[in-house]
Amino acid sequence: MKSKVKTYSIERKQARYGFAFTLPCLLFFGFFSFYPIINAFITSLTNRKAVGKTWNFVGFDNYAYLFTQSNGGFSLLNSLKATGLFTLGCFIPMVVIALLLSVLIMQLRKPWQKKFFELSYYIPAVLSSVVAATIWRIMFQPTGLINQLSNWVMFTSGRDYKWLTDNGMLVASTIIVYFWKYIGYFTILFITGLASIPPTIYEAAIVDGSSRWHTFWKITLPLLKPTVMLVSIMAMLQCLKTFSTQYMFVIGGTARKPIDVITMNIFYTGITNGYLGRASAMSIVLFVIMLVFTYLQFAAQKGGEDVEY
């Protein structure tokens, strides 16, 4: 009896330590995550500005304003369109090509070849986004390297493809920068996923006389489906948050409107122009969009746990 009481108290004491260990994190997230998001919502209901000490509650006026007015030529609807276009144009090719590359790399026989391709593809991910955007903005200049390469590939001569001056091409250019920077990163994610498929399954397939193509569609892809889902949503969430590429292009002299993604609009509206209330409303819109996709990510992750090899 005595000993039981003692163990009980030791466990209690231990439990207290367990809670104490999590306390710094709890306080941190309370202060730097939960409080700000609540604050953002409350601020989004006010007409608060960076200058001036007083402000009033205006209900959902900011939201109504953002969805109907032009916000000085850079409307929220335009930003949603720019963000959507960028995200769709970027994450789909990225996921598809990363998957293809990972399958091709996994088929290489020599370890040094695998290592070589993994390392090379990953290098752009090491550069900061600011550097990546700067390099590409220079290569996209009218007489720059990319126009020369495009002319060579397309069998044209001296044509300016207007990478930075045509609205559509400008969006494509930002997508290329992002694609270039992250393709290796997502390829590595897929390789990790592929490596976790037991080789015995492939051996069984080969014994059964399955062709490579057949093996890919009937074995690899179904087993990789949870990984594909997860990586897709991760890529999508990352694209939704893009900022540096677009910002570096704009301060480098391109038009802002076609690539005025939502994070950039929040920055310009809230910080540059000082409309804190309005910018907070945009932040909440972004938050809700990301929340939906994050929910999908968790759903996909949960689905992934059901797969048994």
Binding site: F21, I37, N39, Y122, L145
Partner: protein, 292 residues
């Protein structure tokens, strides 16, 4: 196996190799471009056709030397030489964030993985739910909070909002779930205090996940542009991304100097990557940990 079949496999393999090498070219060309362009002047960078080897006449001209672009990059916009200051700021911020993220994530992850206490699930879910709050959505309130706390325009202001990551807590917890409890109990019998067990037993035995997490967090801060833009208005507080964006804004058309600046700013990351590539590529460990 007949010859035709072997031939088909070989042809397929050749195509695969060509494709893989083409992508290597796509990935590496811009980096090579940065390297060679950092030694050129604008006229050469925009020359048609582009010459991959900086011409000799360029170096021998009296007004420019081999390192002109680099000197410009370091001098900065107002010749105030804040490049090294920015480099040091970036290093301080990134290293501190990596250290605090690893330490507090490990501590919290350990508490969640190895102790039973009331509300444990709630604490875990609460921390996980913050992963749904993107920084971009809370930067305006964080800006206001930082002003209130008086950490605006200070180094702690650049560090504190990124001192812990929820993803880090998640990763550490998953990793430590498989940590042998007998090991911990043995240490308790030896009379080691709970915090010392964490410090001397748990931390030293978690190096792979610590390295991966540390690098991830270092990189995030090294790459961070948005928060320093809000928080670091003073010249002497600028981090590298901020320095580069300021330089790019001012020197829009001096491509050579811009590339030299980009190149210099990338050197620390290249060094880190080529010495610790194992852990960079291991950044994908999210899938491994998911199974824990």
């Amino acid at each position: 196996m007949n010859n035709a079949y072997v031939g088909k496999v070989r042809a397929g393999e050749v195509i695969v190799h060509i494709l893989l090498v083409l992508i290597v070219a796509f990935v590496i060309l811009p980096i090579l471009f940065m390297l060679v362009a950092s030694f050129m002047d604008s006229r050469q960078i925009m020359a048609m056709p582009f010459n991959w080897i900086p011409s000799k006449s360029y170096f021998s001209s009296s007004s420019r030397t081999f390192l002109t672009n680099f000197v410009k990059a370091i001098r900065g916009n107002n010749d105030n030489n804040i490049f090294f200051r920015a480099l040091i700021n970036s290093l301080i911020v990134s290293i501190t964030c990596a250290a605090t993220t690893v330490f507090f994530s490990a501590l919290c992850g350990y508490g969640l993985a190895k102790f039973r206490f009331k509300g444990r699930t709630f604490v875990f879910m609460a921390i996980m739910s913050t992963m749904m709050i993107p920084f971009e959505a809370i930067m305006i309130p964080l800006y206001m909070v930082s002003k209130m706390l008086g950490i605006m325009n200070t180094l702690p202001g650049l560090i504190i909002p990124f001192a812990i990551s929820a993803f880090g807590v998640f990763q550490m917890r998953q990793y430590l779930l498989t940590f042998p409890s007998e090991f911990l109990d043995a240490s308790r019998v030896d009379g080691l205090g709970e915090f010392n067990i964490f410090l001397r037993i748990v931390l030293p035995n978690s190096t792979p996940v610590i390295a991966t997490l540390g690098i991830l967090s270092f990189r995030n801060q090294w790459d961070n542009l948005l928060w320093p833009m809000l928080c670091a208005q003073a010249e002497k507080l600028k981090t590298l991304p901020l320095y580069i964006s300021g330089f790019a804004q001012e020197k829009q058309t001096d491509e050579g100097a811009l590339m030299a600046c980009a190149f210099l700013a990338s050197i620390p990351m290249f060094i880190l990557f080529f010495t610790l590539s194992k852990y960079f590529l291991g950044g994908a460990a999210v899938f491994e940990s998911r199974k824990g």
